[in-house]
Amino acid sequence: MLISARMGESESGGARILVVRCDCGFEVRGTGDEVVERMQDHARNVHNMTATREQVLDRATSA
């Protein structure tokens, strides 16, 4: 439920566009699933980090 709320689903069921910014300046925007996948790739490939879905979405803001 928390993740669903963080994804910013609108009342009509469409997904909002989210923005997630890494401390290094890297930024991704897209739906919840898109930002999670791309930010997890960035964390793993650039920072050798494992980021959970919750950690990514906790940084998300609405575009």
Binding site: C24, V46, N48
Partner: protein, 144 residues
Amino acid sequence: MLRLNDGVPELAGPCGPEPWYLEVGPDEDPVEVVSRLSANLLGPPLLAHSTSWRRGRGGVILSFIVVIADGQAPDFEGMPIGRAELARNSATEAARSIAAAQVIEHGLRHLSWLAKEDQVVKGVLSDEWKRLLEGYVPEPFQHV
């Protein structure tokens, strides 16, 4: 991540002018992680060497100087490196505040010492790098 651009040292990497932070797991070798990710993202480095440590971000941060070849990884924007005063404290305490520019200055002074004393480092650095490093005061053991 350092390279020369027309004889000027510049900071380059996946995070641009920002420091590049890597997480090292409890069972991982920091040098291996730095070398592996550097090679994956920018191509094989000429040199990867740890130069200092400090506390921060809830742990211990090891600083590395990684030198890549001139012109390597052109897709990554570079930022010229200026000089900085070193962060200092008493003989038995680490500096309380250390800026990124001071970490780089310390790293280049360390590299300057290595370029004179270490045959491997001397062998991989270009003459241009060695000339530039002569301008940095060797200071290998800041905290001793």
